[in-house]
């Protein structure tokens, strides 16, 4: 019986939850090791050995040690191709390239503005930090433009990379979830017909519901 893989980090972290969603989709057993960021555990010498940038998550699979959530997701799919959702990273090179294109689009175009908004609207108030209104408006405008592109794409394709749910859609779940449920920005998604349809589908997947449960249980 193989040792479960290890994920270091709090489930409330968007990047950690991206990895958890992937592990659950792929039916890969894992052990979640808490990291108390409020206490600065992510900057401790021991943690910096497994993630030198002091960010979460860090990941271990027997002798392999990795970080960066999107890299960890790709590794999980390549190491365990026969487990769980076999098509999550495509079953042929063209499908995989399309998925990589949209994972990159998420990382380069969706993530920057949505991360700022998640921090400013969902986390800053809880951390008693002052919100930056100008940063919020700038990034709302950027995200609107990105979602316009998505709406057009999702009018032509059921999911971002093609007909099947993939890593590309999964990669959006963490930030979008907070925008809709903790930042009162659901309208960004519901005001665009195809984006609304897509968000409804991907956020109701069993795997994502399990991650949300883990997040709730950790508070």
């Amino acid at each position: 019986m193989a040792t479960p893989v290890k994920v270091h980090g709090p489930p409330l972290s968007t990047a950690v939850s991206r990895v958890l969603a992937c592990l659950i989709e792929k039916d890969v057993p894992f052990q979640l090791i808490p990291v108390n960021m409020a206490k600065g555990e992510h900057k401790s010498p021991d943690f910096l050995k497994i993630q030198p940038f002091g960010q979460v998550p860090a990941f271990q699979d027997e002798a392999t040690s990795l970080f960066e959530s999107r890299a960890i997701c790709r590794y999980i799919c390549e190491k365990y191709p026969e487990k769980g959702n076999k098509g999550l990273y495509g079953t042929n090179p063209l499908a995989k390239a399309s998925i990589d294109q949209w994972v990159e689009a998420e990382g380069q175009s969706f993530n920057p503005p949505s991360s700022v908004l998640v921090f400013q609207l969902a986390f800053a108030p809880r951390m008693k930090l002052k919100q930056d209104q100008s940063l919020i408006s700038q990034n709302e405008a950027k995200l609107e433009k990105v979602l316009d592109v998505y709406d057009k794409r999702l009018g032509e394709s059921r999911f971002l990379a093609g007909d099947d749910f993939s890593l590309a859609d999964l990669s959006h779940l963490p930030n979008a979830h907070y925008l809709v449920n903790a930042a009162e920005r659901g309208e960004l998604f519901t005001s665009k017909k195809n984006v609304e349809r897509w968000w409804g589908e991907i956020s109701s997947r069993d795997s994502w519901k399990k991650v949300v449960d883990m997040q709730k249980q950790s508070t």
């Binding site: 940038f53 392999t64 190491k79 294109q101 990159e104």
Partner: protein
């Protein structure tokens, strides 16, 4: 089939060009002047709806995002040219790890320096000295981590050159050249040795010769 690459004089497309040279794949550059706003033309937006470069066209097959394009060709032509992905799933994992580090920890800061130091006057945007200062500070901390990594490992993903190293070429070339911050590289012994190694690869020299930077 010859792969068409849009915007070859600019930095991000050069990731694709150097990858194609390493993999011995024929390509053709398609000029696109970002400084004239050609990336916002409706015809171009049909190919790349986010209005950025590169885009590749391989017959009818269109792909965008430089790191997605590199992964596709590196895998499709795995047995040809330089192996850029490592030999095992574990090595591939390390390549993906450091490619993501480049994308999220390195690129944003060096991109800001590129925009403000090199292109702000050409694009009619105000040059923001605060952004330049903060980006240099953040990039400096990232390079300290690279220095530590490269003191234990010849290349970023291990003892083999990979997509992770290659992805750094275009913007680092700007950093040591027109941005005027070569000291950020030369002051770090292992980063310096790594940069000298990867930038002197014939593939990179060929790309620089074929498509000199626009500034």
């Amino acid at each position: 089939m010859v792969v068409k690459v849009y915007g070859p004089v600019f930095a991000s497309p050069k990731r694709v060009l150097v990858c194609l040279v390493e993999k011995e794949i024929e390509f053709e550059g398609v000029p696109l002047d970002l400084l004239k706003g050609e990336h916002k033309d409706p015809e171009f937006l049909k190919l790349q709806p986010f209005g950025t470069v590169p885009v590749t066209q391989d017959g009818d097959y269109v792909l965008y995002e430089s790191r997605a394009i590199m992964r596709y060709y590196a895998e499709k032509y795995k047995s040809q040219g330089t192996d850029l992905l490592g030999k095992t799933v574990e090595e591939r994992g390390q390549v993906e790890n450091w490619l993501e580090v480049e994308a999220h920890n390195f690129d944003p800061h060096v991109f800001n320096l590129t925009l403000h130091v090199m292109f702000s006057s050409k694009l009619g945007i105000p040059r923001d000295e605060n952004v330049i200062k903060e980006s240099e500070e953040k990039l400096s901390r990232v390079l300290d981590i690279y220095e530590e990594r490269l003191s234990k490992s010849k290349y970023l993903a291990g003892d083999f050159f990979s997509l992770a190293d290659l992805s750094h070429l275009p913007f680092t070339q700007y950093l040591v050249g027109p941005i005027g911050k070569e000291y950020m590289i030369t002051s770090r012994k292992h980063v310096n040795a790594w940069w000298n190694d990867i930038s002197s690869r014939p593939s990179w020299q060929k790309v620089l010769q074929l498509y000199p930077a626009p500034l």
